[in-house]
């Protein structure tokens, strides 16, 4: 036997145990579906034999995506962490450590749209308080970490998303909505509620993090050779 981690060590010994107060109900089983499996094959191939544990973060993402597909709530239940551990031949606790370390992994169920509001200084200076307030009003959520009554939205406070040039940022699931203000935030949420997520990116008149209204420098560089062309919206206008 080469496995150092016998069956009784894998898993928590009490699958599907009654949740403690304030704890989510945990599903009692998890298995990767076909789509996940094909992703995993590709992921595992990137690591040399014997170093499969390196794939723990990508695999946890695969889990979270699959849960999102299956239940509309992208999170990582405990059994799934055990499944990842077994797949990668690592002790379950090492997976728990990773999954709880990174805020990007939701260890509790979240709404279909996970509203991650950046409140770090640049975003805050540019009005993240307003965005927060708008999110609260539009969803009825009162505190960070809560899920709205209709189960569609969960609000999380996050640190710098690395897109400060377009502050303030609201990350919805994997997409960044940028340059928000209160009004556009509410519009966005209403669109999400209708099930019509708008294209991610800046919500104002600019492309990427270019100046508003198009280029202000390098104007003599012909298109195609220099920076990308102006925002399509600007071109039309």
């Amino acid at each position: 036997m080469s496995g150092q981690f016998p069956a009784e060590n894998i898993g928590h010994g009490q699958p599907g145990h009654a949740p403690r107060p304030g704890e989510p109900a945990q599903p009692s089983a998890f298995a990767f579906d076909g789509e996940s499996e094909s992703l995993i094959t590709g992921i595992l191939a990137k690591y040399p034999e014997g170093k499969q544990a390196s794939a723990v973060i990508p695999l946890l993402y695969v889990v979270q995506k699959q849960l999102g597909r299956e239940t509309g709530s992208a999170w990582v239940p405990r059994v799934a962490m055990d499944v990842v551990a077994a797949r990668l031949g690592m002790p379950p606790i090492r997976v728990y450590e990773v999954a709880t370390f990174y805020l990007m992994f939701n260890t509790k169920p979240v709404g279909r749209y996970h509203l991650q509001v950046c409140t770090t200084t640049p975003c805050w200076l540019r009005g993240s308080d307003e965005v927060t307030r708008a999110c609260r009003e539009a969803t009825g959520i009162r505190h960070w970490g809560e899920t709205s009554e209709d189960g569609l939205f969960t609000m999380t406070e996050v640190e710098c998303l690395g897109a400060c040039a377009n502050a303030p940022i609201l990350q919805v699931n994997d997409d960044y909505y940028e340059d928000l203000d209160a009004g556009r935030t509410v519009e966005l949420i209403q669109a999400l509620r209708r099930g019509e997520p708008p294209a991610p990116g800046p919500t104002i008149d600019r492309f990427g993090s270019m100046p508003q209204g198009g280029r202000t420098t390098l104007l003599d560089v012909p298109d195609g050779e220099g920076p990308p062309p102006a925002h399509p919206a600007t071109v039309e206008a």
Partner: protein, 685 residues
């Protein structure tokens, strides 16, 4: 070697040492929390900061490699301020609840705060609080006190080999625990209590019992398994309150198995504290004199060969030699120490001892385990095997699947004795691993020796050892792993019936008329014939006492000075920590007193005289410790290696937590059994 100057003192330390080791070599004390010599280096507490010349800021000495000519300063204002600052940070989220903390008085945090900390706190904000975690019936947690040194995490995954503890979440929210709130599945979990530098992990059974300065400490030897773990018994008045391991790198390093540590509440329960004599089918309290007279009467007219004696698993050598002398005086050849019916070859000592030595495991480079379950037979030895395995290049083969994972990688070669034959003739692949090794090791457990073909298995293991070069002038790779603390001592005293005399089985069902049980409870007392007169000399009201006609209350291993020989053949002496309860007495004294009643007075009146008698009976007892020796003698055990049977190797131990009368009487061990053993047994059904 590199030359390093610490506070003006120049020391030479091996290359690759850390600055902390260099400071220690120079006799400088460096405060620390996360660093532990037997664990990997984490460098996360920052308490060990020192100044290194040319380094721009203080460095964490525990993880800082030395260089030739390095100049370290441990006593500068910078260092003092750095330590004060680290201490202040550590205490920010520490509850400072020393008055209600069991670690108080032996707490690294407390001591180091006194020695190196500031005199007050500047922190006025709220402190964080952490929910306590469940780690099983032995380890109590108060996680708010945790300073996140991760010693426990490293111990669990490195030494105990049960990677179940971890640090979950991050930063301010980081918590130590199993995340899934389950009992740690380790037989070494008590050591977490010792390595936690603060009061986060403390002993559950010992909670709120005593302060360290109230306890009288006595050096002793653990008698709950055959490891010979060096222990220190902590007692207050007549009561043993806890047992901690003593460091002995040759034997247990600084670890100890849970059964030895936590059985002690069994010392107070179900005790035999006065003699009893059975009359009209019921046991009645009696005086020593009455009890002796009753035995003498029962023995009257009984010929020596109709008298028998069985020696239990926790006996000290002193009482065993006294029993042997008494039986000889009574003319009885029937004395047996093998409650489990194991077969040994006593013609040479190395046929029944762990000859590589426990420390020798670290020199071995291949291992074959036959009919043993080291994890349960001796958790401490198992940890040593794991330590060797972690060092790499250590193939381990197992014949007879162990009951649970051994905590290291191994290959199950089968469960049939025929596997041995396959290894001897080289037809199995693992034979090459053994043959290719410079110091191959074979461990033969009681599961291999308690079989009908045990003599053949023993001989086969020996000839395999010979064939793969495990027996050479400077290496002895043949090892017997025992389970009973008394066993090797008893074998050294020859407590095995000679040809024609009766063994344990022969004494059953009326084989003898008078049967003396010296602490023997595990041989199946129900098999004793109904007309046999049974004397039980021992400390607990267990199976033996229940069947007895006369009960002579004896002392447990902590209540008498005693000599124990561990599975290696190492002779070690235990001191008396407390007195036996009530009228109970040291066992050799009971035998000596009785011998007078039957007119065969044993020729010793005090402990030195008994020990002199021991040395006379077998010179090994005159010498403490263990001489190392090679195995290349050319002599082999008597068995016929070709007579191997076909019964698969089984388990020789029942429930790990309930193997002796003390642990069976212990509520803590009962709870461990419910927590750990029973779910496994149920799952197996």
């Amino acid at each position: 070697m590199a030359k390093v100057t610490v506070d003006g003192i120049t020391v030479e330390v091996p290359n690759g040492s850390t600055a902390l080791q260099a400071c220690e070599a120079a006799g400088k004390e460096i405060p620390r929390f996360c660093y532990h010599e037997r664990l990997s280096i984490a460098g996360n507490c920052r308490m060990c900061l020192v100044e290194v010349e040319k380094a721009p800021k203080p460095v964490a000495s525990c993880g800082f490699p030395i260089m030739d000519g390095m100049v370290i300063k441990t006593d500068t204002e910078v260092v003092r301020r750095a330590r004060r600052a680290v201490m202040e940070f550590l205490l920010i989220n520490h509850p400072l609840d020393c008055p209600i903390c069991d670690q108080g008085g032996e707490c690294d945090l407390q001591d180091q705060a006194y020695a190196y900390g500031g005199d007050h706190s500047r922190y006025a904000e709220n402190k964080r609080a952490v929910k306590d975690k469940y780690l099983g019936p032995l380890v109590k947690t108060v996680m708010t006190r945790c300073i996140q040194c991760t010693r426990c995490v490293r111990f669990a995954s490195e030494v105990a080999g049960v990677p179940e503890l971890g640090a979950t979440s991050r930063g301010e929210n980081m918590e130590i625990g199993t995340y899934v709130e389950k009992a740690l599945t380790s037989e070494l979990s008590g050591n977490l209590i010792d390595i936690c530098p603060v009061g986060a992990l403390t002993s559950r059974p010992y909670a709120f019992t005593a302060r360290p300065w109230e306890l009288k400490k006595t050096d002793s030897i653990d008698a709950t398994d055959a490891t010979g773990t060096n222990i220190r018994v902590h007692a207050r008045g007549p009561e043993v309150l806890r047992i901690l391991p003593r460091t002995n790198d040759e034997v247990n390093e600084e670890w100890m198995a849970d059964k030895g540590r936590f059985s002690i509440d069994g010392l107070k329960r179900k005790r035999l504290d006065r003699p009893w004599v059975r009359a009209h089918g019921r046991l009645h309290p009696a005086t020593w004199q009455d009890a002796f007279v009753a035995i003498a009467r029962a023995m009257q007219g009984v010929p020596g060969e109709r008298i028998g004696a069985i020696v239990g698993d926790m006996c000290d050598a002193e009482s065993m030699v006294a029993l042997r002398d008494l039986m000889t005086a009574l003319g009885s050849p029937n004395i047996d120490c093998r409650q489990d019916g194991a077969q040994y070859d006593l013609s040479r000592r190395d046929f029944y001892t762990f000859n590589s030595g426990i420390a020798g495991i670290e020199e071995a480079d291949a291992l074959l385990i036959v009919g043993a379950d080291p994890r349960h037979d001796s958790p401490v030895i198992n940890a040593r095997i794991r330590k060797r395995w972690l060092a790499g290049a250590f193939p381990v083969g197992v014949i007879g699947a162990p009951a649970s994972d051994l905590t290291y990688g191994y290959e199950v070669l089968g469960d049939q004795p025929s596997v041995l034959a396959g290894l001897i003739d080289g037809s199995l692949a693992f034979a090459d691993a053994l043959r290719g090794a410079k110091k191959p090791m074979i461990i033969v457990g009681q599961g291999a020796l308690t079989r009908d073909d045990a003599a053949a298995v023993l001989a086969a293991c020996w000839s395999l050892a010979d064939a793969v070069g495990a027996l050479s002038a400077d290496w002895h790779g043949f090892n017997v792993l025992h389970q009973a603390a008394s066993r090797v001592g008893a074998l050294d005293l020859g407590l095995v019936p000679r040809a024609g005399a009766r063994s344990v089985a022969g004494m059953m069902s009326g084989g003898v008329e008078v049967l003396w049980l010296l602490g023997a409870d595990e041989f199946g007392a129900a098999r004793i014939g109904p007309d046999t007169f049974v004397i039980y000399q021992g400390h607990h009201g267990d199976a033996g006492a229940a069947r007895a006609d006369v009960i002579l209350p004896g002392a447990t291993y902590v209540e008498k000075p005693g000599t124990y020989v561990n599975t290696e053949g190492r002779v070690q002496t235990a001191f008396q920590a407390v007195f036996p309860p009530g009228e109970a007495k040291e066992d050799w004294r009971i035998l000596r007193a009785f011998s007078e009643v039957v007119g065969h007075t044993l020729p010793y009146d005090d402990l030195p005289a008994v020990r002199a008698r021991l040395a006379e009976a077998n010179p090994v007892f005159a010498r403490q410790g263990l001489p190392r020796f090679g195995g290349g003698t050319g002599v082999a055990p008597a068995g016929d290696a070709s007579a191997l049977g076909s019964t698969p190797f089984g388990r020789a131990m029942g429930d790990y937590y309930l193997t002796n009368s003390i642990s069976r009487a212990s509520p803590t061990m009962q709870e461990c059994s419910r927590t750990y053993s029973q779910p496994v047994l149920q799952a197996a059904e």
